[in-house]
Symmetry: C2
Subunit: 475 residues, 2 copies
Amino acid sequence: MAEDRKFVKEVTDMEEDFPKWYTDVVVKTELVDYGPVKGTMVIRPYGYAIWENIRAELDRRFRQCGVKNAYFPMLIPESYLKREAEHVEGFAPEVAMVTHAGGEKLQENLVIRPTSETIICEMFSKWMQSYRDLPMRVNQWCNVVRWEKTTRPFLRTSEFLWQEGHTVYPDEEGALGDAMRMLGVYKSFAEEVLAIPVFTGRKSEKEKFAGAEATFGMEAMMLDGKSLQAGTSHYLGTNFARAFDMKFLDKDGTLKYGYSSSWGVSTRLIGALIMAHGDNSGLVLPPLVAPVQAIIIPIAAHKGGVTEKAEELRASLEAAGVRAETDNRDASAGWKFNEWEMKGVPLRIEVGPRDIENGKMTVVRRDTREKLTVDFGNVSAVSDLLSAIQKDMLEKSRKLRDSKVRWAETLGEIVAAVDGGFALAPWCGCRECEDKVKEAAAATSRVMTEDPVEGKKCAICEKPAKTAVYFAKAY
Amino acid sequence: MAEDRKFVKEVTDMEEDFPKWYTDVVVKTELVDYGPVKGTMVIRPYGYAIWENIRAELDRRFRQCGVKNAYFPMLIPESYLKREAEHVEGFAPEVAMVTHAGGEKLQENLVIRPTSETIICEMFSKWMQSYRDLPMRVNQWCNVVRWEKTTRPFLRTSEFLWQEGHTVYPDEEGALGDAMRMLGVYKSFAEEVLAIPVFTGRKSEKEKFAGAEATFGMEAMMLDGKSLQAGTSHYLGTNFARAFDMKFLDKDGTLKYGYSSSWGVSTRLIGALIMAHGDNSGLVLPPLVAPVQAIIIPIAAHKGGVTEKAEELRASLEAAGVRAETDNRDASAGWKFNEWEMKGVPLRIEVGPRDIENGKMTVVRRDTREKLTVDFGNVSAVSDLLSAIQKDMLEKSRKLRDSKVRWAETLGEIVAAVDGGFALAPWCGCRECEDKVKEAAAATSRVMTEDPVEGKKCAICEKPAKTAVYFAKAY
């Protein structure tokens, strides 16, 4: 099997400057552009198409769990935010505030939602009268605003797109069950669709969501060994129920508080895709989220029959459910190879006069650069290749990640492990030890694991360990 | 063929109080609830599912036209709004303004988009260098905020959901072509999917969009004879290009301004659906947008086999692409009939022990209340009925509307015609005459038609008519 050469030259090497590589990739592949207001991004059609694929597939999974979509107002009275003490402490510093509307100063300032627990719990409290009304389970796809000092496209932006699911149950079991169930949905989605292996588990008290009883997170390792929090799920207990008087009449005739959960993933997932799979030529997209799965490039298109054959192939691929496009632009084949390589299209298919004569087509895999000769129009070979790419990308990522996770039993070992990877360390569970790791290595606790730690000592303070936890530098 | 009786009693009669009828319907069917901030609405799952069906079908049509989705930031520098003189005059009075973010006063106030011409043209101007980059055609599905004094769910709310398409071409022909093409998309969508007949045409100078050269609208008659502007499409000429320095290098080597268009429809379409098709029992939904197309109600569900047969039917309907649900709740059949009648589900299917014994099922049409007996499990009969309902609803609406449109050659005739209907009148085209109609009948010009008016005099001032125009009271 031949190997294709590298075409792209305009992207900085990631070994040289990883942040610069990232910026080159997101801008040059036209995923995003910078908006006029600091920290905002324009999601261009190529980037938005990835988001649409993510959304469609996640939405299908939420529906299978019985969750329905709805839409709640974006503007929230400032007083709502203040009702839950931890919540306001966490979010007040980063909200954008509407003080004037319709030419007048408002009587009460409105915050643009940084998240919607407050307004949704207010509505839940209105809708739930009796235990018969429970559970309530809704999700919304929307924009949120969080004013951040340091921003980067997809990873941290003043405005971003996300989904936020919110559920309320008559008991802890139900709400905690949803928080765990949705963490599972996120994990299987990340692995099956984004081809990104993730660690999931409970977050430390320090890292949990403002207002939650418990936060569960999913962490993905990027190619530079840093961690990206790719999704979170919260068990909120009765914290918001108490703040919003969210009560119901139970079977026994008494009024009780509801137990709630919330869970979300955002356009950050696109950042994860880029930094988990990219290379020095640009993007490498898993087929299931790639806007274009197979790009057909006519070679010597001026020669008789080439354009027609390319179009015939595109139509038959499309009929088989493959997102295929033909690049008929007036440019050289080399220029097109460069462009689509950078854009990370899983398969490039070349159709030239000689191929047509021989009844063949040349197919090049973006992930491995393998060059194959396939019978012309063999659609199932193309579908099989796409499936293989999807599977191989996950395996490749998993191997790479696992090679960069090290068991660490001392602070020194943690410091060494988080230089380009994750440390998995026994931990006593206290905040002081987290702070020491932060100070020594600029790393934070990511998620706790179920790994047994009997007889182990905390890697930092040497007191008995209560859990094993991943430490990593994080985005 | 038998006729079903009416079950719903809790909805005000529309003949008695149309606005109250509307409010009863939107709230009691759980389409929406009122948000905590004045003028905002919560779109509940049943209402949001209608919006998702509208969005999916329109999105498909936009894609067929070659338009791609993208996402632009919601927060726009206040100065942008001021660059186009008419635009700022039109929108400044109703914007919501962010003055503080991240705990600090902003250097420049930000407006929440009331519409996105300004920010999108700013980005277009950055992206378009040469004629080769044109046309650019994008659409976004998003929320917008317009601070209105008088609000009603779906019809006029401080925040609403919509799509806004924006295109830029090297010439008038291209941009005007898109404005007209999209008006056509809206019209065919309204008629084929919403089953609402519409009048389309150019708007008067008085009624056009702030900043447009020409606005085209689509107007639907509601059951009370008033008009609802259900969608608009704008030819913007070079107005925004001049304001945002949106230039390209043409083939002849000179820098030229681009010509742009924009077009949008919103959650207002749900208001149109309600007021075009509803009745005194509540909603009547066209099958193509109904969240549930067929509701299966088990009769005497405790008897052996009924629940199983109902589920079997639901599964076979779903497999055939029918959105079917079974109502297995612990409530009487009468209560369920009431509920689903009010919710406007196109078909109710009753499955009871006697039906099962006879190999039959009872099917009731919501639009005509016809009661039919069909062979049990005859899926194609159900599909055929849904198609018939879709077609019949459009025809019924068209007949009713046409019976309420009157040709008017004097101001007196206009005044009479707009009392419960539309006037179609020859018009000189001047604003003074529009103002007179407004004063005399609280009606406004809706859209101009292509009907010939040679030799006709303006119904208001008696000068020679230039066009025929619809006048109506409007939402």
